[in-house]
Subunit: 191 residues, 2 copies
């Protein structure tokens, strides 16, 4: 007998992993019973937890993409952004990351799914920006970060253009250069 | 009896229109026979011309998106970019445009489809940039235009974030501001 929290987390991980494997195998239309079977869990548990296949795919994609690009706490906005963008870039150069991004975009299509999973990602970025603002650094908005850094990286993958190494860092520098009164590079790093 | 070119263009338009209507009606998986039936043409003509459903969807999406954002010849890079970005923004605020973008991205997924349709769009932008360079204006690369202007507009739609009026123009100004030795606004417009 294990703690419910521990079992719950294991079920989530197993189901997410099954989703990634099925997507990677080209089974983009795999339904919940098939996902549950692969994960070794009861379909009823999957329906109870996620409700619909779209919610499950969305949760799996955002959870995995979020895990591959954690936001570090380096003490400077530049360091935080560079660390995060490096993770996003690595994820976009990876086949599984590309598959998850495509699944995420496809799942967002049908219309009125709730976006709480995406909001969590925006909240992470907002927290990074708030911390930098409280240190007195000039800061962008979350929208600026999405426009300057995330959108170009994601669009390369969605349009099957190559993601060259260093793209993430280059995009972060663009964003920082556009900020009013941008501090000099590295001045605050590790501060 | 009409000229083959005229008939060919009419078939293409009718088939593209059928694709847009079926996609708009939520029939994202409509196969070629169904598309041909709606367009009132023989399925054989569709197979002969486009080969696969993916080629057809890609051609329809790129042709329509391209038609909604023609690149004007205003005599200045700023004017050309603003005119083009206005068209892209209008298309991304329009339900049909959003549907076509989603269809385009979904169709690019399966792997190794040829990208000549997208290349044509890149060639349009390159021609605009070359004309500006020949007038002595500082110019961005096509990749810069995609990163600064197209990617943020497209990603808003793909992630179901609103496209506010004026977003296209704001993104163009960002791009121009980032150019070395950016000429003052309107100096060359109409020149």
């Amino acid at each position: 007998m294990t703690r419910p929290g521990g079992r719950s987390a294991r079920v989530r991980d197993a189901v997410h992993e099954a989703v990634v494997e099925l997507l990677a195998a080209g089974e983009i239309d795999a339904a919940i019973p098939k996902i549950a079977e692969r994960a070794g869990v009861n379909p009823t548990s999957v329906y109870r937890r996620w409700g619909t296949r779209d919610h499950l795919i969305l949760d799996a994609a955002v959870t995995r993409l979020r895990a591959t690009s954690p936001i570090p706490d380096t003490g400077s906005l530049r360091g935080d952004l560079l660390g995060w963008a490096e993770g996003v870039e690595a994820s976009m150069r990876d086949r599984h990351g590309q598959i998850l991004l495509r699944a995420l975009v496809a799942t967002l299509a049908p219309g009125e799914e709730p976006l709480e999973y995406l909001r969590a990602r925006g909240d992470d970025l907002q927290a990074m920006i708030d911390a930098a603002a409280s240190r007195g650094e000039p800061v962008p908005s979350v929208d600026d970060v999405l426009d300057y850094v995330l959108a170009p990286l994601y669009l390369r993958v969605l349009f099957r253009r190559p993601v060259e190494p260093g793209t993430g860092a280059q995009l972060v520098e663009r964003l920082l250069t556009a900020l009013p009164a941008d501090p000099a590079p590295d001045v605050r790093r590790g501060g």
